[in-house]
């Protein structure tokens, strides 16, 4: 093969690749707008957005649910990531889409928190179609920590206010709110130390750089199992199956119930038939073995609420965070 042939081939391959990428981008957008929503819904590709980067827990949730929804609805479901700014970028993007059912998204707990943190996000901009999972909060200490129970930690914090350091996934994150919730319930002052994500926060506790960590059960349970961390309490009503033998905070006398969750949402103003179709498809999808396996492998819980219950739940959570985040 002569060099010039190689050159042309390479250039052609490059051109094809860029066109393919560009078309790929268009395909997910085109068409959906023109289809009149109605009884024939769905008859076109549905885009399932996530306001998080590819590869994270929310992304995996979306991809697994997307496959199940595809089977159920009989059309393609394409997952598209719109990450950035604690998810607000993707949430605003969804609110701006047509309420025709072809643009839906997996939204994490932040949808009910961001409005209290100067972000332009309002739960009223969405129709919620169902809750799909829940991740209970936990508090854990390094394996060699002197604190054996939640009581020990709270006593220490009472004796020397502000000296017990607790790492969290970041300022304004759900786990930061968890520290606030515990502080209020026990009337103590903890020193929250925000990290850049849940994994580094848990690492700081494993390495003994902080006295404790508040994080999701999916992040603390594996470390608890192999002895790198000791989970002192789960922030749920019922004990968590993934952490056998670990008491809840409520059992230990502190009324803390907090966790992260995910709902599926559409821009507000969805036609009723479309809403019903999507709601029942989601209800079926969360029962799929592949989905249950994914969620439970992370120590999380498949928690389903239908559209009405989910809307009510988001409103309740939102009201609660208004109080919690104001303090």
């Amino acid at each position: 093969m002569s060099p010039s042939v190689t050159a042309r081939r390479t250039a052609a391959a490059v051109a094809v690749a860029s066109v393919a990428v560009a078309l790929n981008g268009c395909a997910s957008r085109g068409g959906a707008g023109e289809t009149p929503p109605g009884n024939d819904f769905p008859n076109d590709t549905i885009t399932l957005y996530t306001p998080t980067a590819a590869g994270g827990a929310t992304d995996l949730t979306a991809r697994t649910l997307g496959t199940e929804l595809e089977d159920d609805l009989g059309v393609s479901v394409v997952v598209e990531n719109r990450p950035g700014a604690s998810g607000s970028v993707g949430m605003q993007f969804l609110a701006d889409q047509n309420p025709d059912g072809y643009s839906i998204a997996v939204l994490p707990v932040e949808v009910s928190m961001l409005q209290y943190q100067d972000f332009d996000v309002d739960p009223a901009d969405y129709d919620f179609l169902g809750q799909v999972n829940a991740q209970p909060g936990t508090i854990a200490v390094p394996a060699d920590s002197p604190y054996q129970t939640l009581e020990d930690l709270i006593t220490a914090a009472k004796e020397a206010p502000g000296t017990v350091s607790v790492s969290t996934a970041g300022a304004g994150s759900i786990w930061d709110a968890g520290v606030t919730a515990l502080s209020q319930a026990a009337d103590i002052e903890l020193q929250a130390v925000p990290f850049d994500g849940g994994a580094p926060a848990v690492t700081a506790a494993i390495g003994g750089q902080v006295d404790a960590v508040v994080a999701g059960i999916g992040e603390t349970a594996p470390a608890h199992a192999d002895g790198r961390l000791r989970v002192l309490a789960v922030f749920t009503e019922e004990p968590a199956p993934a952490l056998e033998g670990v008491p809840t905070a409520i059992e230990q006398g502190y009324d803390v119930e907090i966790g992260s969750w995910a709902v599926i949402a559409a821009p507000a103003g969805l036609p009723d038939e479309v809403r019903d179709t999507l709601e029942s498809a989601i209800g079926t999808a969360v029962e799929a073995p592949s989905y249950i396996e994914l969620i439970e492998s992370g120590g999380n819980i498949v928690t389903y609420r239908d559209a009405d219950e989910a809307s009510e739940f988001v409103t309740e959570e939102s009201a609660r965070f208004a109080e919690l985040l104001a303090s």
């Binding site: 605003q92 304004g172 494993i206």
Partner: protein, 501 residues
């Protein structure tokens, strides 16, 4: 030994071979497209590989990870645009070499030392994983802060002789680093009302603008009718000669050492390792003034370093259960779903898996090296296109790549802003390297210092031996080097300064 045989034996499946080849091809491709990072490719592939068995799935993910590190050198050297952040430092000497008609040697040497770096990292994984696990855990906020301070001392070196302008650019980079939400309180800072800036200045958009767009626009602006700029299709020789091979030994050793250490540190990856190794090689060189002007050693050090981080990152991920870099964070997620919980227990419960992974990485490295050496001539012919067509191709890639990171048009607009900034910097002689360094290290320095102060107050620094050592090294770096170079300068006063980049 039994675990070794079992672990490697599991790789004898031809199906795994197919997975490796697919991963290597994908990785080389995404590495070569600026903006499409290894993290992104692995994240997207993870959605698909979860449907496979663990070993074939890991074969795809690991080979993308490894091969992207070979692919990303190509645009760094040929068009001054890092394919992924890990090859930022490759542009410092790689692109000047290409402009001197030595792209062939730069690419071949880069591929060879990358393979050496990668294999070094794998040796660390196999032999030192467990002892190193403890070391990685000692890196808390204060230690990370001190490491970052040490990294900031590199600014002088990266300035390429233009100290004042370099430090000016570096300070500007640090200032840009405070844009976004305050890492501790969450308050908005300099976001100008854009929610897109809440997580800080999008890094990929910034580097693609500063390097790629600035380079292309600079060429267009400086092109004169009738004068066709010298195309980089003159590659010169392919294989380094004996003297050049000898000159590669020291920087490659430095690169491997730096890369291995940085790789083990959680959250520090190939971009930081490359810059640190480049500067260490420059400092210890007999002729530091050649760095930044097309020194082969200046390609060898960062490329071996960024590849050596892979083994180190995997070590931290497997032995501590903590992601060693952003790609590993994605891979960790997949492993958990497969029921392979990384952590100290993994070495007891699944020792064969560790050997399997090391074997997979070795195979991926060799495949990626072979592919890199084979396809080079073809890739380079792209540059034989007339510059005005090439500019369109490069700009298209930059825009598609930047958009793809977050599917964000805002990022593409920001890329152009940085492109314009980079063009102005270039015209007025400000080096872009220190700005990028400031942008990478500034937020890390700030957030970690503030975490350390929250935890321990002012005593934090003095209670950490690792931190004290790093601060001492930083002090040495900023005091010894100027003394040495002023002595050198006296000796060779007649040397005429050559413009860089």
């Amino acid at each position: 030994m039994n675990a070794l045989a079992e672990g490697l034996g599991a790789l004898a499946d031809p199906y795994i071979g197919v997975c490796l080849v697919i991963g290597v091809l994908l990785g080389s491709l995404v590495g070569a497209v600026p903006g499409v990072t290894a993290t992104m490719a692995v994240a997207l592939a993870a959605g698909f590989t979860l449907t496979l068995d663990p070993l074939p799935g890991l074969a795809v993910l690991l080979s993308i990870y490894v091969a992207a590190q070979f692919g990303d050198r190509v645009p760094s050297i040929l068009i001054n645009t890092p394919g992924t952040p890990a090859s930022i430092a490759t542009t410092f000497d790689g692109y000047p070499m290409a402009k001197q008609g030595k792209a062939g040697i730069a690419l071949t040497s880069s591929a060879l030392v990358s393979a050496i770096g990668s294999l070094t990292g794998i040796l660390i994984l196999v032999f030192l994983a467990q002892p190193l696990a403890g070391f990685a855990l000692q890196f808390g906020p204060i230690e990370l802060f001190c490491l970052v301070v040490f990294g900031l001392t590199m600014m002088v070196g990266v300035s390429g002789g233009r100290i004042v302008k370099g430090l000016g650019a570096g300070l500007f980079g640090l200032l840009l680093g405070v844009v976004g939400r305050d890492p501790i309180t969450g308050d908005q800072r300099f976001t100008l009302g854009f929610d897109e800036l809440a997580s800080g200045v999008p890094f990929i958009a910034a580097i693609i603008g500063l390097f790629g767009i600035a380079e292309v626009t600079n060429q267009l602006v400086s092109a004169r009718p009738g004068r066709v700029p010298q195309p980089i299709s003159q590659l010169g020789r392919w294989w380094p000669n004996r003297a050049e091979t000898r000159s590669l030994v020291k920087p490659t050793m430095i690169g491997c050492a730096v890369g291995s250490v940085v790789g083990v540190v959680p959250a520090a990856g190939g971009d930081i390792a490359g810059v640190v190794a480049w500067d260490q090689a420059r400092r210890t060189s007999q002729t530091p003034e050649r760095f930044g002007k097309g020194a082969l050693e200046g390609v060898a050090a960062p490329d071996s370093a960024s590849c050596a981080t892979m083994g180190g990152s995997l070590t931290t991920t497997l032995a501590v259960g903590v992601p060693g870099d952003s790609v590993m964070a994605v891979m960790l997620g997949s492993m958990v779903v497969w029921g392979l919980q990384p952590g100290p227990a993994l070495f007891v419960t699944n020792p064969d898996l560790v050997y399997s992974l090391a074997g997979l990485m070795t195979l991926a490295t060799l495949l990626a090296l072979a592919l890199a050496l084979m396809r080079m001539r073809g890739v380079i012919k792209l540059l034989a296109l007339p510059p005005r067509y090439l500019a369109v191709v490069v700009v298209t890639f930059c825009m598609v790549g930047t958009f793809a990171v977050q599917n964000s048009v805002f990022d593409v607009a920001l890329m152009w802003v940085f492109g314009l900034l980079g063009l102005l910097m270039r015209r007025f002689g400000f080096p872009p390297g220190p700005l990028v360094l400031g942008l990478i290290l500034g937020p890390l320095a700030e957030s970690n210092l503030r975490r350390a102060l929250l935890i321990d107050g002012g005593d934090a620094l003095f209670s950490s031996p690792i931190g004290m050592t790093l601060i001492a090294l930083s002090l040495l770096a900023v005091t010894v080097q100027p003394l040495r170079s002023s002595m050198k300068g006296r000796r060779s006063r007649e040397r005429t300064p050559t413009p860089v980049v």
